[in-house]
Symmetry: D2
Subunit: 487 residues, 4 copies
Amino acid sequence: MKPYDTVIKGGLVAAPGRDLICDVAIQEGRIAALGQDLHGDVEIDADGQIVTPGGIDAHCHIDQLTSTGARTADTFASASLAAAHGGTTTMMPFAVQHRGTSLARAVTDYRERMGDTSHIDCAFHLIVTDPTDETLREDIPALAAEGFTSVKIYLSYDALRLDDRAALDVLAVCRAERLMPMVHAESHDMIAWLTERMVQHGYDDVRYFPRSRPIVAERDATHHAISMSDLIDTPLLIVHVSSIDALAEIRRAQAAGRPILAETCPQYLLLADTDLDRPDFGGAKYCCSPPLRDAAHQQALWQGLADGSIAVCSSDHSAFFFDGPSGKKRNGDNAPFTRIPYGLPGLEPRMPLMFSAGVMAGRLSLQTFTEVTATRPAEIYGLGASKGRIAPGYDADLVIWDPQSRARMSVDLLHDGIDYTPYEGIELVGRPTQTLLRGQSLCRDGEWQAVEPTGRLLACERPVPADRPAPAGAHYDVTENRFLDDF
Amino acid sequence: MKPYDTVIKGGLVAAPGRDLICDVAIQEGRIAALGQDLHGDVEIDADGQIVTPGGIDAHCHIDQLTSTGARTADTFASASLAAAHGGTTTMMPFAVQHRGTSLARAVTDYRERMGDTSHIDCAFHLIVTDPTDETLREDIPALAAEGFTSVKIYLSYDALRLDDRAALDVLAVCRAERLMPMVHAESHDMIAWLTERMVQHGYDDVRYFPRSRPIVAERDATHHAISMSDLIDTPLLIVHVSSIDALAEIRRAQAAGRPILAETCPQYLLLADTDLDRPDFGGAKYCCSPPLRDAAHQQALWQGLADGSIAVCSSDHSAFFFDGPSGKKRNGDNAPFTRIPYGLPGLEPRMPLMFSAGVMAGRLSLQTFTEVTATRPAEIYGLGASKGRIAPGYDADLVIWDPQSRARMSVDLLHDGIDYTPYEGIELVGRPTQTLLRGQSLCRDGEWQAVEPTGRLLACERPVPADRPAPAGAHYDVTENRFLDDF
Amino acid sequence: MKPYDTVIKGGLVAAPGRDLICDVAIQEGRIAALGQDLHGDVEIDADGQIVTPGGIDAHCHIDQLTSTGARTADTFASASLAAAHGGTTTMMPFAVQHRGTSLARAVTDYRERMGDTSHIDCAFHLIVTDPTDETLREDIPALAAEGFTSVKIYLSYDALRLDDRAALDVLAVCRAERLMPMVHAESHDMIAWLTERMVQHGYDDVRYFPRSRPIVAERDATHHAISMSDLIDTPLLIVHVSSIDALAEIRRAQAAGRPILAETCPQYLLLADTDLDRPDFGGAKYCCSPPLRDAAHQQALWQGLADGSIAVCSSDHSAFFFDGPSGKKRNGDNAPFTRIPYGLPGLEPRMPLMFSAGVMAGRLSLQTFTEVTATRPAEIYGLGASKGRIAPGYDADLVIWDPQSRARMSVDLLHDGIDYTPYEGIELVGRPTQTLLRGQSLCRDGEWQAVEPTGRLLACERPVPADRPAPAGAHYDVTENRFLDDF
Amino acid sequence: MKPYDTVIKGGLVAAPGRDLICDVAIQEGRIAALGQDLHGDVEIDADGQIVTPGGIDAHCHIDQLTSTGARTADTFASASLAAAHGGTTTMMPFAVQHRGTSLARAVTDYRERMGDTSHIDCAFHLIVTDPTDETLREDIPALAAEGFTSVKIYLSYDALRLDDRAALDVLAVCRAERLMPMVHAESHDMIAWLTERMVQHGYDDVRYFPRSRPIVAERDATHHAISMSDLIDTPLLIVHVSSIDALAEIRRAQAAGRPILAETCPQYLLLADTDLDRPDFGGAKYCCSPPLRDAAHQQALWQGLADGSIAVCSSDHSAFFFDGPSGKKRNGDNAPFTRIPYGLPGLEPRMPLMFSAGVMAGRLSLQTFTEVTATRPAEIYGLGASKGRIAPGYDADLVIWDPQSRARMSVDLLHDGIDYTPYEGIELVGRPTQTLLRGQSLCRDGEWQAVEPTGRLLACERPVPADRPAPAGAHYDVTENRFLDDF
């Protein structure tokens, strides 16, 4: 047996199921073996270091025109470079169908925007806003066959949301095609109705923003999304869960054996509604939806990650400059909250924040950190056969962490070019020292090592197994259009 | 002290809180005293009999054009006569606003239809389908001042349902005016989407009807109605609860201290989805919405009445002939379920059925029977000061029951003139032998005793107390348009 | 019709189910009628006043040798006089069997202690500590036939507690005889084990007392008592519930349809564990078991009373002087908490405290106040046919309250002769101005009006109905000693 | 790099977290690498086969004198040989302290019985029945230091059970020493009381046995064990959970963040109370405690394994001959159920049954099968660093399965020498074809390959981490004997 291409020696490896001190051998971009006394042409000493799978950011908006009309601030090139610095090796942005346009065309356009400019691997979720017959019967099946196997729908936002019939149409196609539906669950009309009243009566300052999207609207839409999943009988993932109440609905469904999945984001774990009170329009930097909640909700979400009821921690990266014409202040530095672009930059800091505030602070085990930042997103979105684990045959997407490192989060530390970070000042314990994509070192000790972008657009498997058991009781099979227990 | 006008002597009186053997004295149409050894100019011997408050049927459709275009089969005269035979002394039908028309006008029209033809007292609920500014700001407040203090909205049916913003507008007015909102809670689009598929694939026979309105649609809308109540902070009553799942949502809200009330109906307690399988289009006789469920749901609803989580048992009387041009067969005797008028006749049998299957069968105490058929509906809809109790000062609306009587429910036994009863063949243990309205005997031993109709249109109090405590936490007061904890 | 003996005119009467402004007529010691325009030889003007049933204190220790060897501080004479001043007209103390002695004899002795000295009516609960064959097969059935129909057992205290087999024996007899078992539910060994450790390591100051009887011990024993009730299939009442956790177990059982009842006491609603920190051994005044908890528990218990999951509010009056040889300081004024007599005086203040902090403060409706202080205890313990309601035929035990009165609770205000009250300084809004026992005025405006004690020893009905439905599923009927579904 | 000792080539490997098709390299008895294209001096072709970790049977009674006075039917030699045939490579029997004897001595004796006769590795749990000072302060700590780090206590059985204080003493030592307590949770006195009555009234046939140990007794003791864990603040594992109700208590604790673990056994998944009705005293073969329940419970337990609320599937192997002087009929073939030795043989069939009825029947994924039969028991009992996973550094304890194999379970198929199997006739889909212990093949295709017994007595790590976070709220630390929040 000859030496492997590369061997990472002696690190504490977040191997599936248990942390091991062992060597990780890489051959032709893949993990060839986990073992002891493995040798390679290149050997990386990881003694005292921690080795995890490269992060998978399953929810980020890159180079996207948002529903509020602003364009997000980064390109595939800039975003992927920043992501790699933070230990993320796969990102999953959204190819958005705008109403009146073709979904297939949206994907083509988005592929072109990506081109060969990404430094890390990518996979696209589809956002469906206009489920025409063409979209449902032609585009989605064709795109699924090409490897676009997750579909996001919105229950909120005028420009994006689907009414119930349209949502059910999309879910029914997801069921037939075995795709993973993702739902932004806030009840649009409750929010719109309340916002209108608040604005009319002078409560339009950004500090009132969280109250315009109250927890009950998130809980209500979460229950509703679960009901639609029940009717159609399809798995479903609720994105960016922000509150105890929404989590409680999800847990109830899970306890009843329903295939409901949940995601949260670092901002809901580390930032709070009080951040919206920051002076000098600083609250605008914290304006995202669902809005930030208070400490009790943060704690519950950490618990949800720890006990598995929340499967995924993504960034929901949606970056706008604070200043500038397309930024938070685009409608003035005293704009009402209805005229501020919603979204926070978080692609690069996600992994370091979760490592520091999660693993090093004792809230999450290294295993759970790995699961929620890499393993589970890979599995849920059809990349589970090649991404998200340190196991033979898997892509050698790896991050090496120095648990001794100390830093303070700052805009100067980051590589995304945005003029602020909402996490400014948070202390970081432990940091990524090296990121490898398919065996190739992208950056090491803060130095960028890759010359050319080598990120690929990944084709995802269909995430829902073909042999999922049928639910109990009389049930209309919307794929076969018949009753399961017909008589 | 001189003799009272009338004294009912020696019956077992379903007095508030406990059954008592005592006399009930009536003076000038009101209960003057409960006591022993009371004497009257007229004395009714009730030895061995049971005396309860006259029934209040808080949910019935009389002389109404329904959403499916059919006209219900009875007039105020015929309905009230039948109701009185069954032991009901107050009925609460609906004054329906049709879209594009005025709510005030709808009430005026409906008053005219009632005229002086009712043999029992009446109060109208308002059905709002078109919440224009005029409706919200002028008509509802004015009608509330006149004593129309409950407002029903629909989350289902094309012709009736409100979208969420409209529903919130109505709830906000209810809060400001202290009215009781009633909600028909089935998720319209889930039902419409599923029905369309079912019909398209040949599942349009009436026996499939229950599956077209699945339990998840009722549960979903029930949760949603509760969410809207949470947002607005108003009490709310869910009408005709038919399933364990909807009841569970209601109980969760009640356990959290939310003022959510529920109603069910005899058909959901005594009839089942299997009745829809009856031959010769017989299933059409059992076509109502929400649809009939199975025995487990029946049992849970009995339990809900017994433990108080369901406060009201109404009939949801909505009578159509089986035969005839405006009846169940109006679109043919093999019509798809989408073209059958929905609704069951139940005004007259409600009280005897609940007395027999509830009290005499041991499912409900006499106290609970009294509460759910009379006391609680009176309280909930603003009649609690004069109706629904056998207590001094209350209207002498009374029913005397012979618990020894035996009969079998049959269309021939009833007085409503409809050509069928869905309860045909059910054995009745115990029957009303005399019904008194404000001290006057309407019928006795099956004989009609009243000469002229004396039923009044009642003005209801505002059912929601002015001093309801504010909910905990930050909250936008939609009446005052300010935050309760403003800062 | 001739005038009644006495009529209370024009008060707001807490009549069953609803407050009414009406007259209450009394004839020969009983309520003869509720009505309007009633006339009496004596007329009491209650305009602007509130009329409630006389309080029933279903849990008080009078003239009793306690398990810690101290004798409680009052006699039937002194206790009943104080109780009447507070608006209580029936008290239910305990006839305690001491181990090695006869239960029948204990009752005989206790009857003698009461003699004809009580100013209010009494009924005795039995405390069984030594369930010998004679106790179980002879004494309890014979005493039940005489009207002693409730049996208390302890799961804690060395001198009182039953092991599980003995407890099951008692419950089985209660089932056969249709008696109401009452359970003091704290897990003895958990407490004893912890206390021993705490004392050994110097945590024996009275301020540590609450921690020696932790909530988990109450929750555990509550669950265990419910389990025993499940096995035997008998109703059961948990006395003096003090914590959210115990209440949650009770609610779970109730939601499952189990006949589990609960009681709490004013001290758990109004006092807190921080009271144990009072200087100068003042904490000893607040030493009772279960111990006082914190504000969150208080709030939950108020909610439990309001929503009916707690049926009874008793005093658990167990009075010791602070000073003196048989008092709190009997083992010194720095005695470890293990050597302080447990118990608080509360017989007289119970009703005024609940009226003020419950009704007048808006936590309980007048109806609920009446239910938990009078109606429900009467029903639960077999006095429901004559006590606890203002209804024709019931004993004319009545309290008239002046809601305008203001006072501050103080030892000087009370009539029990104890040298402290744990409620010192609490503001009272509303006070009883007159107490009537079976139509006779005992005290009015603070003046004692009765000459001779007229309190009776009441015979209670068997509280459990003979026709309780059998539980579902295979079940061993411990009364019949056979399986209900034998095969 | 030179060839490994052995490589298993091309099987579907139940690697941690995900099944992989890869090679498994073994060097010096340990797994050296997982990878592709690995080579060995010996190569085992596993194409089309499944490779799992060797089974760990964490609950079996071997060569033990039981509480009913019978001796179990097998020796370490016979049991380990049978176990290996079934794919089990580590067994964890019990060193039982008998009352009045020394725990240390019990371990010494048991080590001697094992001697060098076991064909598979062993670790002993300690059973403490007499927690004297010597036991608690000397023996347990000393034995823990030697690697005996789990302690089982009984809440049932006269000869074994601890009272609460003794149980708390043991739990407190477990907490201090970081040992895993295991609890047999059935409420002794409830069972004894009921059994006495049943026997007295003629219900002593074996078919009544399940009813003598009702579900409520298991639920009650489960709650109680959890309460004790709460008080002491120690993790705790409930052995052989048999009912929905006990599982519900466990899930409640887990949902509250409490470290409560659960085990079930194949008999509770595959056999039912109706098996006790078998003729010719055949029910005695199914007599174990807790008793077998019905199908609804089976289904719930499968669900508990699938969703992780039950962590371990052990055999609770406790083998008696049906015939013979020490067998089920030792007190006659019509013995009352109180005189039948309780326990079923299950060591050998456990893995094949779970593979067939779990994995092949679609109830459990291969991953979950691996976790509950090997990974989780290893972790929970301190063997997680060397056993239970297919990962580099781990003992090469492996089973190779042929999923195509078909057989019918039969006593003739088994190697334990017992004269019956309760699983007779159950169809097996998939069977183990080869078992390796630390790299050495024990048996292959039914042929025994090992010459000498090489099983070791394993030293277990302390299973409870030293840095477990403290619980919230005021709490007495029973290890430090102080309050965590002292003031």
